[in-house]
């Protein structure tokens, strides 16, 4: 799975879960906080993306991520591990 495909999964979930993201551009430099996401919405986006990508990432690896690009980095590594 390419990086673009991983990002597409995350982006789709952002549009589905975070109401304020509607109509706004979501890039790898964006943070979910930019769209007014609360902590639970962030967990929902990450959790649903993990399920769709069929990966498991320990919570400790998700702490301190600054933007969506860094989240995609973590997912990319997790996918490489299971392949």
């Amino acid at each position: 799975m390419s990086r673009d495909q991983i990002f597409y999964v995350v982006k789709t979930n952002i549009y589905e879960i975070i109401a304020n993201a509607d109509g706004k551009e979501v890039s790898e430099a964006s943070s979910m906080r930019d769209f007014g996401a609360d902590s639970l919405e962030i967990v929902e986006v990450v959790s649903r993306s993990m399920k769709q990508l069929r990966i498991r990432v320990p919570r400790t690896e998700l702490i301190g991520l600054q933007n969506l690009g860094e989240l995609v980095d973590v997912f990319e590594k997790a996918i490489a591990k299971v392949q």
């Binding site: 967990v43 993990m50 399920k51």
Partner: protein, 170 residues
């Protein structure tokens, strides 16, 4: 806000409304785990441990059935309600959640967690009142979604479905 219930969970809820998710004959075997065993798995304690024993367990399907003796909550029935004791719907939902928690811990081996956070009650329907004396039974199925864990379950009394609920915890 997006308040829709995921399709997989809606499908399970529809099944749960119609019939016990595990037949009575299977649930009435000897307990696979007693109260002490349950306390070794989940962090709930009296007066909020709402499961006395696990009567049936299938970790591959992510399912369990549990039982609780309502007489343990006699003090609560004094107030809910004095002239018509009813097991509260919120506690039925909690019992379903605790049953799912037992499955989750046994599946993942995460025995040392000090607590769980309820994040959603996705749906709940209360079909008939649960009244003392006697037991209630909970049947729950766990759907693991990465960080979040969904639980779909039933509360039964005398093999009648009294409520169904879907909850999510973290």
């Amino acid at each position: 806000l997006n308040w829709t219930v995921p399709e997989e969970i809606a499908k399970l809820l529809n099944q749960a409304v119609q019939a016990p998710l595990v037949p009575r004959a299977e649930r009435e075997r000897l307990p696979v785990l007693d109260r002490e065993g349950v306390q070794g798995i989940v962090p709930y304690r009296d007066p909020f441990l709402l499961v006395d024993c696990v009567t049936w367990l299938d970790l591959e399907r992510g399912m369990a059935a549990t039982r609780y003796d309502l007489s343990r909550s006699a003090a609560l029935f004094a107030g809910h309600f004095p002239r018509y004791p009813v097991w509260p719907g919120v506690l039925q939902t909690e019992g379903i959640g605790q049953t799912g928690g037992i499955v989750y811990v046994m599946q993942t081996g995460s025995f040392d967690r000090p607590s769980y956070a309820l994040t959603h009650i996705l749906a709940a329907r209360f079909l008939r009142p649960v009244t003392p004396p006697g037991n209630v039974e909970y049947i729950a199925q766990v759907l693991d979604e990465g960080l979040l864990v969904h639980v779909v379950g039933q509360c039964l009394q005398n093999d009648s479905i009294c409520s169904v609920a879907a909850v999510t915890f973290l």
